[in-house]
């Protein structure tokens, strides 16, 4: 199986009384809480952590897009991905992704992803999320009733822009562009692998399967509550008569490894409670704009993941470590314990693309690097062979290493 080291890049200095004195971590969070000088430090630490994960042999490093959000400081993950493309050599770069319905014209995404693919030598995974209601409908004011129509049109335009052998005119419902002609063009042919991060929308399952794209369930609720969603996806795979190949599916899981379970609880309680207490404090007013959840999904009795997160905030939601761990939001323990739990995650959800989140909340750089090292050295090797009987058809196909450029080492004076 593949291990993709995922960073959310949270702002680490939300005050302890954040929940009491603020209505939401997202959309209308107080700008006064942002200290750019602290962010300078955080961003640079986060780059170090991603690059360290690459050094330790993770298969990919992952970034994503959020807007007006204190737990995700990457309005443009492409900026991060490009910097990583220069500073890493072999690791795959997974951008999960660009909310393609937001960009006018969406060709911009085709261009930027093609740039990253060129600079990285063909190491890009191109993620196309619909995007959360908070990011798309509120922070960016996208029309919730048009969002999915725009998303599908943007997808069609981007794929055509990557693959057409001549400039073309695109006359869409929402985008009209007279001269679509993407320069640069991606190294990977016909285009970089497309992965779709989703919540629990049933149309997304159908669409991923029909297009042979990877479906990624980016839940913060852990593997125990994800079973219904993943079963729904695999049922659609079987219905279409496609191979139930675990590499079709990705799953994000918070993980904290230590020398013992007690030490793990000591190390990871504060960062986990920071994340689930402060970073998941989302005003429900921003979670369910009319038209965002399709009728088919309403009818199926399902909701998008974020709606549930927001709904949970009205009830008792796990913000204390014992419950966080009991519910499976965060997997903690010594290496053997974590191996066992990740094995269970992978087998029960049947996912071959696992995205461990080894930095969360306000975890320090030292703790993050230790967590990453323990996972890389003591957990990953024992699970790497899992699903070895399947072929991964959804992985990037970079240029051969011998044909890839290397960044010039910096002279000491410039360092």
């Amino acid at each position: 199986m593949n291990f993709l080291w995922f960073h959310l890049m949270p702002y680490m200095d939300l005050p302890a009384d954040f929940r009491q004195n603020n209505s939401s971590v997202w959309v209308d969070i107080d700008p006064a809480l942002f200290n750019p000088e602290r962010a300078h430090q955080m961003y640079n630490d986060y780059f170090d952590e991603l690059e360290y994960a690459a050094e330790l042999g993770f298969d990919a490093i992952c970034v994503n897009e959020h807007h007006s959000n204190a737990y995700g400081l990457m309005p443009s993950p492409n900026l991060v991905a490009m910097a990583l493309a220069r500073r890493t050599k072999d690791v795959k770069i997974c951008v999960l992704g660009n909310s393609i319905a937001l960009y006018n014209p969406p060709t911009r995404v085709a261009e930027e992803f093609a740039m990253i693919d060129c600079v990285s030598g063909g190491r890009l995974i191109a993620g196309f999320p619909v995007g959360t209601p908070m990011d798309t409908c509120f922070a960016y004011s996208a029309n919730p009733s048009q969002l999915r129509q725009r998303y599908h049109e943007a997808h069609d335009l981007i794929v055509k822009a990557w693959t057409a052998d001549k400039p073309f005119a695109f006359n869409g419902r929402f985008t009209q562009q007279a001269h679509v002609n993407v320069w640069p063009r991606p190294i990977q042919k016909p285009h970089p692998p497309v992965w779709i991060p989703g919540g629990g929308s049933i149309e997304t399952w159908e669409w991923c399967v029909q297009n042979d794209y990877v479906y990624c369930y980016l839940s913060y609720g852990g593997y125990k509550i994800a079973q219904g969603t993943m079963e729904g996806f695999w049922n659609v795979v079987e219905k279409h008569g496609k191979e139930k190949n675990p590499y079709r599916a990705g799953f994000l899981q918070f993980v904290g490894v230590a020398e013992s379970r007690d030490e793990a609880m000591d190390l990871y309680t504060a960062p986990a409670e920071y994340f689930y207490g402060r970073c998941q404090h989302i005003d429900p007013r921003y979670a369910g704009p009319p038209g965002y959840t399709t009728e088919a999904t309403q009818r199926a009795g399902l909701e998008g993941q974020v709606t549930r997160v927001a709904d949970r905030s009205k009830r008792v939601r796990a913000t204390q470590m014992k419950e966080i761990v009991d519910l499976g939001y965060v997997v903690v323990g010594d290496a053997d314990d974590v191996v066992e739990q990740i094995h269970e995650v992978a087998k029960t959800l049947h996912v071959g693309q696992l995205m461990p989140l080894l930095h969360f909340g306000d975890m320090s750089k030292a703790a993050t690097m230790r967590n990453t090292k323990l996972f890389a050295e003591k957990v990953m090797p024992k699970l790497k062979g899992l699903f070895g009987e399947y072929q991964d058809h959804w992985w990037p196909k970079p240029l051969d290493a011998s044909r890839r450029a290397a960044a010039r080492p910096l002279a000491p004076a410039a360092q």
Binding site: N143, R173, P290, Q298
Partner: protein
Amino acid sequence: MNDPVATTLDLDGHAIRVWTKGRGPKIGFFAGYGGLPRWIPFLDLLAEHRTVIAPSLPGFPGGGRAQLDLDSHLDWIVAARRIFVAAGLEGCDLVGSSVGGGLAAEVAALWPQGVRRLVLVAPLGLYRQDEPPTDIFARRADEYAALFCADPDNYRALKQPPDDIHSGEWEIEQSRASEAAARLLWPLAATRLEKRLPLIQQPTLIVRGAQDRVFPRSYADDIAKNIAGRSRVEIVAGAGHLVELDKPLELARAVLDFTG
């Protein structure tokens, strides 16, 4: 209350429900936020003196999923006009409330011969930076009743599922009505209606509930000032945004007085 007669008209393959009841000269009604999941007492009161014709707007209850084909504000206006004509309302009086009020104003502005007299009940579409309308979209579901009605129970009564429906389809229909409003008005309910107000030549009555929490009082005066036709503003005591739900008798009287 007797049930209205239900017929349908076709809008590009979508069946649009038209409710008709009463006798006398015809008068049209474009419903407000949430549409007409059921017939309401206000329309019965009008129907005592007039033939009330209430066609559904795209995506509102009875309006199918027609909203999904409407991509621009022009699409919405043309759809509203086609529905108005197909419902047999050409040349008749028109009452529009809230979301339907904005569309009624557009239809009256662009096809002045089509509408005789116009009643606008807190029509949405205007936005003034110094006094913006209330954000109707960043809301929890349980906030809407108090947002739209002075007496929240009046909105709850509109949306209460009938006893014999338990399939969940009722709830989906109500959610579709909210989606239709969002598709038309997202994000600020700023359709630039103010640009078309000077084209309204019809005598126009502008109605606002004294307790309207959505549509500022000054907007009623702005409309009265900017339309070309003769106009009057009437404030209904004890009513919120959806005046037809809070004060059906008072609104029916005002409409009947004004339209003659």
